[in-house]
Amino acid sequence: MELLLASAIGVFTAAGVYLVLRPRTFSVVMGLSFLTYAINFFLVSAGRLAVNMPDILAKGKELGDYADPVPPALVLTSIVISFGMTAIMVVMGVRGYFENDSDHVNITATEEMIARSRE
């Protein structure tokens, strides 16, 4: 199972990196989503895998009977923050689209000229 998770993390990362390097805002946001999945699973894997061992305390269980609660707590924070970041990114994409009539991520020569003329 470790191999499956590790390879999935690798695939997410590769997809994320490739998409992030694309020239349009929407692909970049999708790429960020993939990187988020990769990193979240990476954090989970840092706690080593535990199958069917939840973190709910119950009587009669030893400390070793629980999954490590620290990585999930970290991942929860990560999910929340990356949600906020994704939201901001897509809205920036929309705003940029209306401002520049283009959803390209690079500043092109004409846009630069417009920006200079505004200054």
């Binding site: 199972m1 470790e2 499956l4 998770l5 590790a6 999935a8 690798g10 695939v11 997410f12 990362t13 590769a14 997809a15 994320g16 990196v17 490739y18 998409l19 390097l21 694309r22 349009r24 805002t25 929407f26 970049v28 946001v29 999708m30 993939f34 999945y37 979240n40 699973f41 990476f42 706690g47 080593r48 895998l49 061992m53 709910i56 305390l57 629980y66 999954a67 490590d68 609660p69 620290v70 999930p72 707590a73 991942v75 929860l76 924070t77 999910i79 929340v80 923050i81 949600f83 994704t86 939201a87 901001i88 897509v90 809205v91 929309v94 209306f98 401002e99 959803d103 690079n106 500043i107």
Partner: protein, 961 residues
């Protein structure tokens, strides 16, 4: 207490003149003067303790004790003398500046800056903590930047201010490193303790480094060669600033620190040869250049450099008597030089020029000013019976028997030459401006100034004469006490008097005066030679260095930062991979021995689905809607994956976040093109693909390495597992960590989310209301829209579901502390239910039902969370400590309610809940508002598009605004 007040009064009081200027210029000056006077009076209350009872009052308040930074002040002889100069002369300057500044100058700012500067200076001299001292040190650089550039419309002022800041600020950095090393070596940050550890410091291998770094700081601040060039350029400042900062106080900060650290840093070797030599050189160069200045303030600036060099040299001699001479000259120089600067200001103010070539004969027109200048310049030249003579004699006496590299002639000769020029420029100042015939071509008609301008320098001149005549009464015990503080030992046996007998110093003085007179008369001849001499212009060099640095940085930033995000990301990812790969490749890849978890069929199926979806997205990202669906599949299966690896909370959160994210991206896709054309060049794709594969191998490989190995250290999980119930009152350990153990993190996290919601609102508000609204309105949707905008079936279903969804949300919220759930997940569930109302029934109707603003929800949520945390502080516990208890209520109507638990963490979770709903709803509601503007749709504010009872056609509502 009241030691700190001496510093705090001007610091906090600096706001007063800036406010009082509204009530007029006199009120502004009066407020500044009162603040300064109170600080001065407070300071003087310490005089008896320090000078008569020989104690050193101290205070110490902890601030950041862990890094050695505490609020520690002390008043000893040296600090008291400097503080007296700073506050005393400051008072005169404040009054002088009232008459000096013209009505066009923003006086409130001026006095505000001046008081900040004053506080910083007093802070330097009274600090008993090296880091605190450094903070004030930098504050003087900053406030002097503001003051030098006060006339910001003048290019010279701006350039001078920049140069001063660059030089003194750069020196400040060196000094910071130096004092930190010093404190490390001495093992204390308290100055009074450092001063007792001379052996420890001088025997340290770091001693040369420490000395060089500290000297760099002191020499730049005190304008010693070769850093002297900023001071003449700082003369672009208003004259009160020059008189205050550049003669009496700030430039002496370097000298103060040299004197302060004298007991631990001085020795016959490195200290003597660096400090004394630099001082001597500065003294000589300053004096020579000063003679050839035509600008009065330029002359005074170079003369100041020369005198600062003199004092530095005396401190460098490393003998108690030389230290006493240095102390005495600091006092004397402050009095006559501040008076002279004010004098130059008066001449400038009344005659309209400071150019020596255009002046002369003013004695007959401005007799009061002339007399001030006469006494002050003669004191500067070192003529009896004025105070400048006394300290100069002491200096010459010390110089006459100090050897340099075993040669006994070097120092006396050079010092005498410097003294000759010093006499010459002093005479040139007085005779050039005031002697000779009255001219008729002054820019203004000069006459004596109003009292506000002449009595402050007059007061100083009276000191010059009084100290000169009766040094034994007025200065001797003061100089002895201060010297004792400098050398941290009993003071040398010195007697200040005008006539010590026929000593070598008298001979040297005689040569200086005679030679000075001749040189002064020959200025014209010497001037021709001087003008032919090739001299490096410091400004040109400085500008070239600054320009070179700017150019270099610009080349780098233009190369890296060319507006192409693709390039930035490529560089960042490549750099990360290269750094990480370096270590990674050297690591064994093999399985690390930790037993693996078994693989099951559902797992493999899930893996195949996820990987296949990912590949689909990568291959088809041009077809955006399609790619988004595949992305959603990945997200959902990730949630299931979390369940599998025992992260139930994770799965719940992931699935609810996934829903909201996909909704958001769908909304985005409504505006953005649904398809994009392939446009990357092939080799670009190959390059990015290669990078992606390397990154994927790296991340996957790293997690493989990690998962197959045991922890190298014991995990901290056992602490949380053991204390979740007893300490946090909950059995869901993940939730307890979030709301209790790491509650501060979560508090920060919801704040971030709230900010994100507000930022989205603001960004979209620019489209809804700003100039871009027209663009949005003229935008044409690129897909055909359904005719049935709000299908009645969906409207009805969502409305029925709303209360149920809220009930589910409450359930999830309440169970969160003991079972999977919690405020965040509950908030997302409720948000989704609310968004569905917007989607099904339209923006107008949904927005009308909302009785409050989502902004308030964000703020309210953060406040609730904060209040919970503060509640713990009220109970005298650290911020966000949780409280929990349980009780068993009596049976009611035969129903047993069981144990009811309550934890303050629940109130905190409520804050999380409210903030998240607020942020999500604020963003999405604003989004749908934008949609209505974009499609120019007629909105329907009624509950449904058609009334099912009357079978009417869809009603038309009003347009949104």
């Amino acid at each position: 207490m009241n030691i700190a007040l001496i510093v705090l009064l001007p610091l906090l009081g600096s706001i007063l003149p800036a406010l009082m200027i509204r009530s007029g210029r006199n009120a502004c000056v009066a407020s500044a003067t009162v603040v300064n006077f109170l600080a001065f009076a407070l300071l003087l209350t310490h005089v008896p303790a320090v000078f008569f009872y020989h104690t050193t009052p101290k205070i110490s308040w902890p601030w950041l004790a862990s890094i050695g930074l505490n609020i520690e002040f002390w008043v000893d002889g040296l600090g008291l003398m400097f503080a007296t100069l700073i506050l005393g002369i400051g008072l005169l300057i404040l009054i002088y500046a009232r008459s000096y500044l013209s009505s066009a100058d923003p006086m409130g700012n001026f006095y505000c800056y001046l008081l900040i500067f004053q506080a910083a200076m007093v802070g330097i001299v009274l600090s008993d903590n090296v880091i605190l001292l450094m903070m004030f040190w930098e504050l003087t650089s900053l406030s002097s930047f503001l003051l030098i550039g006060f006339w910001s419309h003048l290019p010279a002022g701006r350039q001078g201010a920049r140069m001063a800041l660059a030089v003194t600020g750069g020196g400040g950095l060196a000094l910071l490193a130096g004092v930190l090393l010093l404190a490390q070596v001495a093992d204390t940050y308290r100055i009074s303790e450092i001063l007792t550890r001379r052996d420890l410091i001088q025997n340290s291998e770091w001693f040369p480094t420490i000395l060089v770094l500290i000297l760099l700081g002191c020499f730049t601040k005190s304008a010693q060669f070769p850093f002297h060039f900023w001071l003449p350029r700082a003369m672009a400042a208003p004259t009160p600033v020059s008189a205050y900062l550049h003669s009496a106080t700030m430039v002496k900060a370097g000298l103060f620190l040299l004197a302060r650290l004298w007991p631990v840093l001085q020795n016959d070797g490195l200290w003597f040869y660096s400090v004394a030599s630099i001082g001597l050189l500065t003294m000589l160069i300053g004096a020579v250049i000063a003679l050839f200045q035509d600008d009065l303030k330029g002359l005074l600036a170079y003369s100041t450099i020369s005198h600062l060099g003199l004092i530095t040299m005396l401190l460098g001699f490393a003998t108690p008597v030389a230290a006493a001479a240095a102390v005495f000259h600091i006092i004397n120089h402050a009095t006559f030089k501040a008076a002279l600067f004010m004098n130059a200001g008066i001449v400038d103010h009344e005659a309209g020029t400071r150019d020596l070539k255009r002046l002369g004969g003013l004695m007959w027109l401005m007799p009061v000013t002339g007399i001030i200048a006469l006494i002050a310049t003669f004191s500067m030249a070192g003529l009896p019976p004025l105070n400048g003579y006394l300290s100069k004699e002491m200096m010459l006496e010390e110089a006459s028997h100090t050897k340099w590299m075993g040669l006994k002639e070097v120092i006396p000769t050079l010092v005498t030459i410097a003294a000759v020029f010093s006499v010459a420029y002093s005479f040139r100042y007085f005779f050039g401006v005031f002697a000779g015939r009255v001219r008729h071509d002054y820019p203004h008609h000069p006459h004596d100034p109003p009292a506000g301008l002449w009595w402050p320098p007059t007061l100083l001149i009276m000191l010059v004469v009084a100290i000169g005549l009766r040094p034994d009464l007025l200065a001797e015990s003061l100089v002895k006490s201060v010297t004792a503080a400098v050398i941290q030992d009993s003071p040398p046996d010195i007697h200040l008097k005008l006539w010590h007998g026929w000593t070598p110093a008298v001979t040297m003085s005689g040569i200086a005066v005679g030679g000075g007179l001749i040189v002064c008369l020959l200025t014209f001849v010497l001037r021709m030679a001087w003008d032919k001499l090739p001299r490096p212009d410091a400004k040109v060099i400085f500008d070239a260095v600054v320009h070179g640095l700017t150019r270099g940085c610009q080349l780098i930033s233009d190369g890296v930062h060319n507006g192409s995000q693709q390039r930035y990301l490529f560089l960042i990812i490549t750099a990360t991979l290269s750094f990480a790969g370096w270590n990674f490749l050297s690591y064994p890849w093999a399985h690390g021995g930790r037993p693996l978890q078994p693989i099951s069929t559902p797992l493999v199926v899930g893996w195949i689905l996820v990987v296949a979806s990912t590949i689909l997205v990568v291959l088809n990202y041009h077809n955006r809607l399609y790619a988004l669906v595949a992305l959603g599949v990945v997200g959902l299966f990730s949630s299931i994956g979390f369940v599998y690896v025992s992260g139930i909370d994770l799965a719940l959160t992931q699935v609810s976040v996934e829903v909201v994210t996909i909704i958001l991206m769908l909304l985005t896709l409504f505006f953005l093109p649904k398809h994009s054309q392939p446009e990357s060049r092939n080799w670009h794709r190959c390059r990015d693909g290669g990078l992606a594969i390397v990154a994927g191998l790296g991340m996957g490989g790293m997690s493989w390495l990690m998962m197959t190995r045991q922890w190298s250290m014991e995990s901290i999980q056992s602490y949380f597992l053991a204390n979740a119930k007893s300490g946090g009152g909950g059995t869901n350990v993940v939730n307890v960590i979030l709301v209790d153990f790491r509650g501060f993190d979560t508090f920060g996290e919801i704040t971030v989310l709230g900010c994100a919601g507000l930022a989205i609102f603001a960004m979209l508000e620019g489209l809804v209301r700003g100039k871009l609204r027209q663009r949005v309105q003229s935008w044409e949707p690129d897909v055909t829209r359904t005719a049935d905008r709000h299908p009645i079936l969906m409207v009805v279903v969502t409305r029925v579901m709303l209360p149920m969804a809220i009930l589910v949300g409450m359930f999830i919220f309440l169970r969160g502390h003991n079972l999977p759930g919690g405020g965040f997940i509950a908030a997302l569930v409720v948000s989704v239910a609310l968004i569905m109302q917007y989607m099904a029934s339209g923006f107008a109707w949904a927005a009308n039902q909302v009785r409050f603003k989502y902004h308030g929800l964000i703020g309210g949520g953060i406040l609730v969370a904060a209040a919970t945390g503060v509640g713990a502080m009220v109970a005298d516990r650290p911020f966000l400590t949780s409280w929990h208890d349980h009780w068993h209520p009596p049976k009611f109507l035969g129903i047993d309610f069981g144990d009811i638990e309550a934890a303050s963490a629940m109130a905190f979770d409520l804050g999380v809940f409210l903030t998240v709903i607020g942020a999500v709803m604020l963003a999405l509601a604003q989004y749908s508002k934008l949609g209505i503007i974009a499609v120019d749709a007629q909105v329907n504010a009624n509950p449904m598009d058609c009334d099912p009872l009357n079978h009417q056609s869809p009603s038309t509502g009003a347009k949104p605004h």
